[in-house]
Structures are given as C-alpha cells and as structure tokens.
C-alpha cells in the first residue's frame, strides 16, 4: 500500500469508461433522417474500462500491458483528461505531457514548425516557453532541414521522431506514452530508449503503454495488466510479464 511519505501522482478510483458509437463509418444527417424513417437504432455501447482503480506514486515508471482492445489507450487518455470517465474519479498531480499513438502533426498541410508550436500552445505553454524549447525539440528529432515543410512530406519515421521529441522536451511531471518507443530507424530507437532511461532516472512519473515486454521489464518499476477493460494484475514488471505471457499460451 501507499505509505504516507510517498507523494501521490496519479490516483484512478473505480473508473469506468463507456462510450456509445455508431456502426456507420461517417455519421451523416442524411442517414440519420433515413434511419428515423425506418425506426432503426445503430448505437452500440462499448465498455472500454470497467471499475479500474490504482494509485501511482511520484517517480514511478509504470508499464501497461495487454492485448489490443484491452483498454490501455483509453486508460491513458482518461488519465490525460482527454476522455472523461463515465464513472469514478481520476486525480492527477502535476503537469502532464502526452505522447499518444498518433503523435504530433494534427494538420498535415501545416509545417512541422507550425504543428509543434500549435501543439505546445494547446497544451497550455506560453509562446516564450515554446520558443525556448523549440531548438531542443528540433535538434533531438534531427529534423532541422524539414521543419518548414508541410508534414505531409514527412515519412512515418520522421512523424514519430518529432512526436517523441516534443513529448520528452516538455519537462513534464508526468509523461504518458502510448506505443511510441519504436519509432524511427535503429539509431533513433536506441537514442529514444536512452532518453527514456534518462527520464526514468529523474524523479518523474511515467506511464508507458508498450507491447515490447523488453522495454517494460527494463524501464519500469511497476506494471499493470489490462484485460478487456478490467485491471487484471498489479505487480512488479517481471511478475506481470510472466503472468501475461503465460495467458497467451
């Protein structure tokens, strides 16, 4: 249990996330009107998280394991405040930086520079803070010549590198990373792994979703296993990995 001296970083209490989604690929007014005529309902409820509770103390590196569709990304988004919980309560203490599967580059027609600046401003940084970090971000991503080009000209590896650089350069108290450690070429992958290790050694809270058990085992000091929206197990990384691997057989 959490001792009194430990500083709480993230507290997830009995959180459930249910959302309704339609079968349609793109919802349109036309199809809605037609459907009303036929009195059909196409909504389906998805229980992405079911009564999940856990605490993360300050400075912990937490790994999240689980199959596709187990609710890992939903969990991280809920902690980031992007998806509101349907039930329960999430408390997060500190400034959060997220690197979710899609990374930066929300508008492919804008240049890398514009995307980075807009992303930072949306995350609540001031323009001065953003200017100060900009050089560092570009340097780490090794994309100096590409920053003024629209992001649609980028390769997927370049997307990933820029996303990773932005997330790790924000000096967050809490870093949430979803499946983003394996970006770029072998060299950049090693570099980003080194950076991760450096961040893990500083007293930051990191939540890491990964399918790479090697990185979870090496970087994390705790792990949870998500299974179909439920919290299956909380333990040391190696124990969780072992139980998870056993369940796959």
């Amino acid at each position: 249990m959490l001792s009194a001296s430990d500083k709480l970083s993230i507290r997830v209490e009995d959180v459930s996330v249910t959302y309704r989604t339609s079968f349609e690929r793109t919802p349109t007014l036309r199809s809605t009107v037609l459907r009303l005529g036929r009195r059909e309902r196409v909504m389906r409820e998805i229980e992405a998280l079911k009564n999940v509770s856990f605490d993360v103390s300050h400075g912990t590196v937490l790994g999240i394991l689980g199959a596709n569709g187990a609710g890992k990304s939903t969990l991280v988004r809920t902690v980031a405040g992007i998806l509101p919980p349907t039930d329960g309560r999430v408390e997060v203490r500190g400034r959060v930086s997220t690197l979710l599967a899609l990374g930066v580059g929300f508008n492919r027609d804008l240049s890398g520079r514009e995307n980075v600046v807009l992303g930072g401003l949306a995350a609540g940084l001031t323009r001065d803070q953003m200017e100060a970090k900009y050089e560092e971000i570009v340097e780490f991503a090794e994309l100096e010549e590409f920053m003024e080009l629209p992001m649609r000209t980028y390769s997927s590896g370049m997307y990933g590198r820029l996303g990773f650089s932005v997330a790790v350069s924000m000096d967050p108290d809490i870093l949430l990373i979803d499946e983003a450690l394996s970006v770029g070429d072998a060299r950049f992958r090693r570099k980003s792994f080194e950076k991760m290790r450096e961040l893990c050694n500083q007293a930051r809270t990191i939540v890491l979703v990964s399918h790479s058990m090697g990185s979870i085992s090496e970087l994390c000091d705790a792990a949870i296993w998500m299974h179909r929206g439920e919290l299956r197990m909380v333990d040391e990384p190696d124990a969780v990995i072992e139980a998870y691997t056993r369940s796959l057989d």
């Binding site: 509770s53 804008l110 000091d221």
Partner: protein
Amino acid sequence: MSTETETSRENGAVTAPKRPWTRRNGRTSGREDEFSSQTHVYLPHAAGLPPLRSYVREVWRRREFALELSRTRLRAQHFNTVFGQLWLVLNPLLLAGVYFVLVDIIRAHSRGLDFFAHLMAGLFAYYFVSNSMREGVKSVVKGGKLILNTAFPRGLLPIASVITAFMRFVPTIFIYAPVHIIAGLPIGPHLLWVFPLIALLTVLACGLAMFVAAAQVYFRDLSSFLPYALRVWLYVSPVLYYAHEVPSRYKWLLDANPLAPLLTAWSDVLNGGHAPTASDLALGGAWAFAIFVLGALFFVSREREFAVRI
C-alpha cells in the same frame, strides 16, 4: 475476474485499493480544475457541463493558441503575399459588383451609388458571419489528432475560425471607405455605432460557429449542406435590398432572421446616416446573445465526447 486481480505488492509503488472508493471530505476533490497545471481531477460529467468559470479562464489562458491557429490558417490561404492580399480585396469587390448589376437589372436601373455602398457594407458584414461558419464547421473535425492527443478547451477551435473570418473582414472596411466617400454618404459621430455592431456580429458569429462545429461531429454532411443554407440566408437578409422595402407579407422573414436587425442597424448607420433604432439594437443584441449562449452551451456540453466521435 481472475484471482490475480487483487494482487498488490506490500511496498509497491502502485497499489490497487481494496476498498471501494469513498469520497473524501475536506479535500480538493470538490474543486475541478480541468486544464490547469497543478492538480487535475477528472469526474464524470453527468450534468454535461464542465465548471464554466474555469473553462472560460482556460480559454483565455490559451488565447495565444487560437490566434496562432488562425494566423497559420491565413498564411495557408496566402494572406501574407501580395497576390493573396489583392485577391482578398478583389474578391469582395467583384462580388459586390456582380450583385449590384443583378439587382440593377431586376429593378430596371433605379439604383445609384448609395445603394452600391449599402450592398457592399451589407455583403461584407454578412460574409464575416458566414465565413465564420464556413471556417468553423470543420474546425473540430479537422483538429482530430490534436483533440485525441491533448486536453484543452475545444471551444478554442471555432473561436479561431471566427478570428480568421474577422481578419478577412478587416481589409474590406478599407475597400468600403472610398465608396462611402464617393457616394457622398454622411460622415459623423454616428459612424461610431459600427463598433458595437461589429461586436454584436462577432458574438453572433461565435455562437453560430460553435454550434455548427459541434453539429458537424455528429452529422458529417452538414458542411456540404451549409453553403446552400448560407446562400438562402443571404437572400432573405436585407443586403440585396433595404429592410424598409420588404413588402408586409414578407416581413416575417425579417422577424425570423437573427441577422436582420443587425444588418438593418448596420445599413442605418452607414447608409442612412443616423443611429440604429432602439428596437433593432435590442432585437439584434437579444438574437446575438441568445444564439451565443445556445451555441456555446451545446458545444461545451458535447465537447468531452468529441474524442470518441472523431
């Protein structure tokens, strides 16, 4: 549930509480700080609305984002090049010219330069509102990845669209000015009324942009219907004609049109040379604020769902 569910390490950094969650008293849990940089508490939103005061505070704190977003969008439209600027001037001028010829033909050449000034001023004001909606309708859907990755007040996206439309409206004032002078229309302190009227138009534009931006998330074909609706709206607004010329059996069209009182007042000030009537001002203000409140409430109550809908 597996037997491993309740496993927890004795001195572990991560713990799964065994007790069901009970609300702690006297803690910060009562206060919800959605986007602020210290403690964040995320609760279910049964009531639908986040705490509005902190929402507005966060929107204000991130105003730089809305400005920058609008600036990049203008840059993408070549706003900062010579030909881009020229086009920005030529386009509304041509539009006003075409509509003037059209109306002049229909009315068998009874229109003078003062009507041209009315037409121009009305078109520009109308296009400010309609461009806000055109820009705004896709603002949320196009911001998809940003919405999936970052927690921020989504209202900033349609607000940025209104800023973009406003930045395109400003140069049209300078196109209008010489026409106003050449037509010999009165110049005096009554012209100061344009400022409160622009403010009211902006309030209306914000409400409409928020409404269509949120509706587009649920009905993706709204953006294809919108141009038709906007064209019809122009024709039923007192732009191609004076409000006082509308026959009494069509008066209801003006009464049902949220833009009509503001555009009537707009024409009174610029063309008529006098202050707007109190009833136009009151009605226009009431429409603007009512639509703003409805649009903003609809948007804000829905915005937390956007992440799963995009």
